[in-house]
Symmetry: D2
Subunit: 316 residues, 4 copies
């Protein structure tokens, strides 16, 4: 794999001008896309990829889109959650939701497709969906509360008063109480696993005073009682063959995955309340973003799934 | 009010030896309790206050206990949650749970009692109970998930590997998944407000990389549908007369109350899921500990409720 | 003392709109200055106060200016360090540099002056000058390196990429290597104490991943050898009568003064190198800003020096 | 290179028991050293390696020692700085100080030695020595103040009150004012570069509220005036061929190197004071510890210097 070009908005400068830590790579951010590409990775505001992708497909380029423009299957979800009409609803059902643990076969099938679009999921969705997929698949999800905590890098690099160090540090707050966009894809994917439309998921995100990491705490009322042994079996069967997922025996900390493409999950039956608690952690900038996109790319292009993703977590 | 003595375990030293920031007070930690006291504030491991308090009562001293030994009314809760048999179950029903917003009249009534015990609640309990009391009182609590986030000062000053800066910083994790002790008093007090035993509360605490502050996110399924207008009215009626409680129109951050005795609460109907979300924040070391104890002391001794507690929040 | 009005740029809104933690004060930010004032506190970009103050003086209002416009005595310093010509150089020698510990008599003398301007010093200058004034006054300063560390609140609330939580957190950097403006007043005030122009001071500021606090580490080569006993005597004689200064026996942490108007200083002879090390800490938003301005106001208006400033440090 | 065993004190457990983030490696901490080793990496309390190494040398094992037992050439420095008599002073002059940038040839020469000891330097020493070596080598160091700032991971994992999150967070302090041990090797190595004994270095370390990273701010008075052009030339000539060192044009932040084996340095002439300021940053756990030990091992064993060290910095 060779990086043949980087393109940014109105930029033509060495990468260290905006990303000093990458200075030793010698990369440069240009202002135009090179020709003869096999694949592009897109990270664009919503709506921008939808406009750009058809032309890329015409050129035979595979698209790994890190934005939301091809994640939702129902065109009606775009005006509802993103306030734009999707210009190419026909492509929505041909794009593959880029969670290799759930859609590995679909990603492999893209190799022979003339519409190669991977809709790479974001951080909250990945953490939530991977946490609950085994329960959904077994038809066990009844009532779901997802209380998620994220470091601030999930909000991007833009300077905003809310992101000022003095506001974030030594503080925690919830946001998005009127409904976070990512709940749409969480409900879509869990519904697909369950084979049925689920009741609306109660999803509440929080901003935590740290840079990287997401923890999804999923409080689940199951459709029937389940004991710890069955729960353990469910998660191990689902994930023991997955290279980037660890089913762990104690509540995981986000620090256990920082800088890596790993997802760690812990499922627990609370005998007192009868609820199941599932705790999932990932690094929102790796398994929740760029790392997962590379993982899906590897699958589509027939490379080892872990190519470029071998980095161990960086702790402390 | 005069501080006539401080007593610590095996200590006899100026306060700045262990608390450098208090050096200018000239206080000294002694190794014995002075005589002729009107009131003592206790902060002891569970079981220790239960052993000590009867003798203090005999001396006519009012006790403000910041530990759990007199918070629970049912003696059976002590072996269950704290693993000790309570030596004086007769005192449990005479102690007053020191939440002035809910038990103000009981605190006033202590003035004429020969058993003056204030069982001052801790941080998680205060945040949870004050967040949900108006809904409980109205008989609206059906199913309750409390997902709480706390700074590390809630765990005390003891050196433990889990509290090392390098472990806590840039990380978040849940703990106490097998049931946190404070859920006992949360269920007791919400049940008292409701006038009925409630279904078990799902309470999950998290450790957040910050020093002070608690946020309780309460996800509630109500016994009947309720709209935003009725919800607002419920909280304003409950708290508009309370000097330390603010019903706020947007999700509060813990930084909005740091260093003060204030509790801020925001209640929101989620039209999509039908749930009610209540977000409450406080400083775990003030309204969740020492400040609240002083507030209750003020009520018991007929002082203005805010004596010694006028400090505004310290932000940023 | 009564706060009769707050004025902000283009604002007319309750204070909680921009400062949610102050909501309980009921204050409002208006867009015009009320009439009939005794004193105003100004916090303005450099140059703005110089333009505004003459008119305030004509109205008989005392001015406590938290900006730099009246701190420097030499008019030539304004074009050099702040790139503007001072419009009223005649006022510079009549303004009083608002460090009550060094200029207490001058502040008292303002009571009878028709030009009542207090030029309140900022955080770096206060920490540096108070750390070194006793050595300067004794004629002992030869070569001075001040290596200062500041929390980010010193840079104000403006959103800038450098202040984004993700940039600041888990990182430290020096800045202002070409000369920080505050060195001008540091050299002025230490020179006044010494009664002679000193060699240029090497002042290097750092941005630390915390919100509040400044630590000035001053590495001094003295004009003659000095032992620890003499050094201790020098500092205790200078500061033992000062209500807000503590000479401490161990290196202080900034956390020991957070939220208070206190300055803590530790002076140490390094027998190996022959240098003297002085470590001074303060809260840049209190003793390094608003608190010190109130302290000087108290002195000018004949109030107890600690009025409104009794708050103990908030730790942890 | 194959890791054939890990040994810890009184342990026999999977690595994830103490280091959860490394669970996916499948490594196990044993309680005995395997046989047939080519090399061992030691991280031991001072004095312990000195006792252990002779036996390892007898077995033909190369030793990469991350502790101080073989860093100092003068046996008298051990009782002075570490309070023990060195049991094998004869080995001190045969060990190589493991800074590949300065002692690369000596490391290569170890291949043919029967005493293969690499004394791998620690974080403060590496940052200080690499920052100043070009000036020392050119005979330009006259008076040196090193004001260093470190994240807390430099102090190890042990639970101590000073390392509690609530003590470290939102605070900065200096420590070791009576002389930090690492100054001994800093003076030794800079003296070797200069070819002469230097005046004592004033070295002051600080604890910063972050986990990883060291910044050394070196304030230097030179033996003769030097301009920026000559200074730049000096640093580029010294380091442009080094794979892990970047001479940068602006003050570097520690975040620019986190998780990598890189050292970034910026040198600046302060025209006003005539001093030279050198700012060096590294990750204390990589280039300041394990990474550097691997780098030296690679050189000794004839592997590419960057084997196992290709990881880019992790920012934000």
């Amino acid at each position: 794999v060779e990086i043949v070009g980087l393109q940014g908005r109105d930029r033509d400068e060495p990468i260290e001008a905006s990303h000093p830590h990458l200075g030793s790579t010698g990369l440069r951010i240009g202002d135009a896309l090179p020709a003869g590409l096999d694949a592009v990775f897109l990270g664009l505001p919503h709506g921008a990829a939808a406009a750009l992708v058809p032309d890329l497909l015409d050129q035979g380029v595979a698209v790994i889109d890190l934005g939301p423009d091809f994640r939702l299957r129902d065109p009606a979800d775009y005006p509802r959650w993103y306030r734009f009409e999707h210009p190419r609803p026909d492509l929505l059902e041909r794009a593959v939701y880029g969670l290799p643990e759930l859609h590995g076969d679909d990603l492999v099938a893209l190799r022979d497709s003339d519409v190669r679009i991977v809709a790479s999921p974001g951080c909250y969705a990945t953490a939530s969906i991977l946490s609950l997929a085994p329960l959904a698949h077994a038809g066990l999800l009844d009532d779901v509360v997802i209380d998620a905590k994220s470091g601030v890098s999930g909000a991007g690099r833009e300077s905003k008063p809310d992101m000022h160090f003095a506001e974030v540090n030594e503080s925690v707050k919830a946001y998005g109480v009127d409904g976070h966009r990512h709940v749409a894809e969480i409900e879509q994917e869990l519904g697909l696993q369950a084979g049925a439309r689920l009741a609306p998921v109660d999803f509440l995100p929080h901003l935590i005073p740290m840079t990287r990491g997401i923890l999804a705490a999923c409080h689940v009322r199951t459709t029937r009682p389940i004991d710890q042994e069955e729960l353990d079996k469910l998660y191990h069967e689902a994930y023991d063959g997955e290279g980037f997922v660890d089913v762990v025996a104690a509540p995981p900390a986000t620090k256990h995955v920082t800088g890596s493409n790993r997802f760690k999950v812990h499922a627990h039956v609370d005998a007192r309340t009868g609820r199941v608690l599932v705790l999932g952690v990932l690094d929102n900038l790796v398994k929740g973003a760029a790392g997962q996109a590379i993982q899906a790319f590897n699958v589509v292009f027939g490379l080892p799934e872990s190519s470029g993703l071998e980095q161990l977590p960086l702790a402390p």
